[in-house]
């Protein structure tokens, strides 16, 4: 049976600006929303799109991420004929090297794609937060017989120079692509989501690999060279919530977006049926809210125990907020512990971090504090 589409998820990035959260964890494996890791979103989107051949390209601090992905069971990508592969840099006859860029990462794994021989290849980022299926985008690609479709969203004009910007004609054909243009001619930003005809992708990657001056990057090299070569590239306009979280502040904000008071365009409760986001189940007990607790405007995962006061927070499994502690506008990650009398405002409390009795965490106004001391382990 021929395979319509295979997905390749780029998950090798370091995410330096997430500071200590990514010191030992790849950015796609960073926890989010009390229950999830960021990569649950693209993986669930693949599952919900009926894509059953998925390769995840990992590199930086990959063991935790590789372990998490495992056989793909968490997302149901382990059924009949399904294939979930973690693809790390490897040694070959030609030698060995790290992935030199996004395009090189795919190039190094053409053997994996050749084996599947799909009609189309979907390229995704492992660190974007959004919920959708890719079926409409694939239909458009087939309908227009495009070599490549790039998913775009409209960004505010004043921010357009931070993105890869596409210029299109009225029919959505891409005329030009510019990485971070000083004077943008459009506000359609590339989301780093591509569907390629596999044959076209393959020849572009092979040509790029031979070019020693290339950065081997999709945005900088592959897309411009395909445009130059006269290939048909089209834009697919995405409407809905989409976030590329790069900093502690933006990760904090993306968490707060999930609250009832947050961004109405992302609502986990409305993602039911074939729109659910799947994740690992951690066998935790139900969450417990103590007799003296106050809980306002929060998202709380199973296994958390709240005895103190929490307001405008996202709270993971195995978190304990002791009596008399108060936490506001903060994210408490897996196993964090806030001892009695502690006060936490505007913070990200990392996995297994401890805020000790009576301690105060309060950053300068307008910033987000990060606590990641792992001291709650074994308490």
């Amino acid at each position: 049976m021929s395979i319509k589409i295979a997905a390749m998820i780029l998950a090798g990035g370091k995410g330096t600006r997430l500071q200590s959260l990514t010191r030992k964890t790849a950015k796609p494996a960073v926890s989010y929303g009390g229950k999830y890791r960021i990569i649950d979103f693209p993986l669930s989107n693949c599952a919900n799109s009926g894509i059953s051949h998925v390769g995840v390209l990992t590199q930086y601090e990959s063991s935790e991420l590789n372990t998490y992905i495992g056989s793909g069971r968490n997302w149901g990508i382990n059924g009949v004929d399904a294939l979930m592969s973690v693809l790390t840099p490897k040694q070959t006859e030609e030698g060995s090297s790290w992935y030199r860029g996004t395009a090189d990462a795919i190039y190094e794994n053409l053997d994996w794609l050749d084996e599947i021989d799909p009609e189309y290849v979907l390229i995704l980022s492992g660190d974007h937060i959004y919920s959708c299926t890719y079926n409409e985008m694939l239909n458009l690609t087939e309908e227009k017989d495009a070599d490549c479709t790039i998913s775009v969203c409209e960004v505010p004009w004043e921010e357009a120079s931070r993105f890869g910007i596409l210029e299109t004609d009225e029919e959505g054909n891409i005329l030009a692509f510019k990485e971070k243009p000083k004077q943008p001619k459009s506000n359609l930003a590339s989301m780093g989501i591509y569907i390629f005809k596999y044959k076209s992708l393959r020849s572009a990657l092979v040509a790029d690999a031979k070019d020693e001056t290339s950065d081997h990057d999709f945005g900088k090299n592959i897309i411009p060279s395909m445009l130059e070569g006269g290939k048909k590239l089209i834009a697919y306009t995405y409407k809905g919530y989409w976030k590329d979280v790069g900093t502690i502040a933006s990760l904090h904000q993306a968490n707060m977006d999930l609250l009832l008071s947050g961004d109405p365009t992302i609502n986990l409760m409305s993602m039911t049926g074939g729109q659910r986001i799947y994740s690992e189940d951690n066998h935790a007990t139900p969450q417990f809210i103590g007799p003296k607790a106050t809980v306002k405007d929060c998202l709380i995962n199973q296994g958390a125990k709240v005895y103190g006061s929490v307001d405008h927070c996202v709270i993971s499994s195995d978190v304990i907020v002791e009596e008399g502690a108060s936490v506001a506008n903060s994210v408490l990650m897996l196993g964090a512990r806030i001892e009695k009398g502690a006060k936490v405002v505007d913070a990200m409390i990392g996995p297994h971090a401890l805020v000790e009795e009576g301690e105060e965490v309060k950053p300068e106004k307008g910033t987000i504090a990060l606590v990641s001391n792992k001291k709650a382990l074994g308490r």
């Binding site: 994740s279 066998h283 809210i289 007799p291 607790a293 709380i300 199973q302």
Partner: protein, 373 residues
């Protein structure tokens, strides 16, 4: 453990009307997240027992919906065996729809197996019980039948559906009879967990069942001992154990686990309780909600007030609603300004705006599945 078969016995659970009108007690929701049979299934999984049979009496749809292919309680999905055991002829003759007839009907467990021991555990008793030392004791003492019992403070109030056991100093059971409910004071009650040598069970079924087709496992063990055929050994379990034998006890034991000191006896860090994953998002609390002294399952959306309650998966509690001393099963919606007190609201129900319903502490209200009030 390769030489052990674990059987979850849905036959031995009592009927608790109206809670079990459409489902067996074993697949009834507990604490918003579990089904009662999760505790026995987790005990098998944690003990490394990987040949598991479910002795299904009736309502198999409800059980299958929860357990699926039992993957959630299985360490290795290839090397393990998981079998749903169903007694087809028992449905022509309900008097014979017993655990023993079910085992006889599915006699692979008796004859087509290399296992030396069969462990039977009921689906309605809640405990975090480690079977490994009990099995080790059974083997070391060369016992043929071991019954696990627990000490209760007052036999007239607890384990009303189970047997009172009396044993001598050596742990040899010399008396074994259904709890009459009027014997006040401490006693040892059967947890309906049996470890039986496979060949012994086959022999007992062969010997006693033809003459008495409605015999069940509990009576068989009693009878075998009575007639001097097989001696039974008592293993006394000392940890937390509760038997769901009535609607009132279902309510009482649910609420008692809101006390963290009691909950810690059941939910131990080294003893995970596994259950089916529903991939529901974390629970959402509104800006004006007030929640105290409660357990809340994932997928719940609470904008009202909740006190001393257990809130199930995908429950919605609208702004201004008050829920107190109540258990709300999954996917129920409580409308704006509604008031629910001292009640159990079953699944998929809808309490409309400003409705007030409830019972009393002594006599809580039960609202059936899918009710619209």
């Amino acid at each position: 453990m390769k030489n052990v078969i674990g059987l979850i016995n849905f036959h031995s659970s009592p009927e608790i009307s109206p809670l079990t009108d459409n489902r067996p007690l074993g697949s009834t929701s507990f604490l918003g997240r579990y089904a009662l049979c999760d505790f026995a299934l987790s005990a098998f999984c944690n003990a490394g027992i990987d040949t598991i049979g479910l002795l299904v009496k009736d309502h198999q749809r409800s059980i299958l919906k929860h357990v699926g292919s039992l993957d959630s309680w299985t360490r290795n999905t290839k090397t393990s065996q998981r079998i749903i055991m169903y007694n087809e002829p028992g449905h022509q003759n309900l008097a014979c729809n017993t655990d023993l007839q079910n085992i006889k009907e599915n006699d692979w467990a008796l004859y087509d197996s290399n296992a030396n021991y069969i462990v039977v555990a009921p689906a309605h008793i809640i405990a975090s019980l480690d079977l490994r030392p009990i099995l080790a004791e059974h083997i070391a003492r060369h016992e043929k039948i071991t019954v696990v019992g627990t000490k209760v403070k007052d036999a007239s109030k607890e384990f009303l559906s189970e047997n009172i056991l009396k044993a001598d100093k050596d742990g040899c059971i010399y008396d074994n009879y259904p709890n009459p409910g009027d014997e006040k004071g401490p006693a040892i009650l059967s947890m309906a967990i049996y470890i039986i040598n496979r060949t012994v069970l086959a022999d007992m079924i062969h010997r006693f069942l033809p003459a008495n087709p409605s015999l069940d496992l509990r009576k068989l063990i009693y009878q075998a001992a009575e007639e001097g055929q097989y001696q039974c050994h008592l293993h006394l379990y000392e940890g937390y154990a509760r038997c769901i034998d009535s609607f009132d006890h279902y309510m009482e034991y649910s609420f008692e686990l809101l006390n963290p000191e009691i909950a810690e006896q059941l939910f131990r860090p080294d003893w995970p309780i596994y259950t089916k994953s529903h991939d529901t998002p974390p629970a959402l609390y509104g800006a004006k909600s007030s929640v105290k002294d409660s357990m809340v399952a994932n997928g719940a959306l609470i904008e009202g007030n909740v006190e001393h309650s257990i809130i199930g998966r995908n429950v919605r509690i609208a702004p201004g609603a008050n829920v107190k001393n109540a258990i709300i099963f999954s996917s129920t919606h409580i409308g704006e300004n509604a008031l629910i007190e001292d009640a159990l609201i079953d699944k998929y129900s809808m309490i409309t705006r400003s409705k007030k319903i409830g019972g009393t502490k002594e006599n809580p209200l039960y609202l059936h599945q899918g009710a619209i009030v």
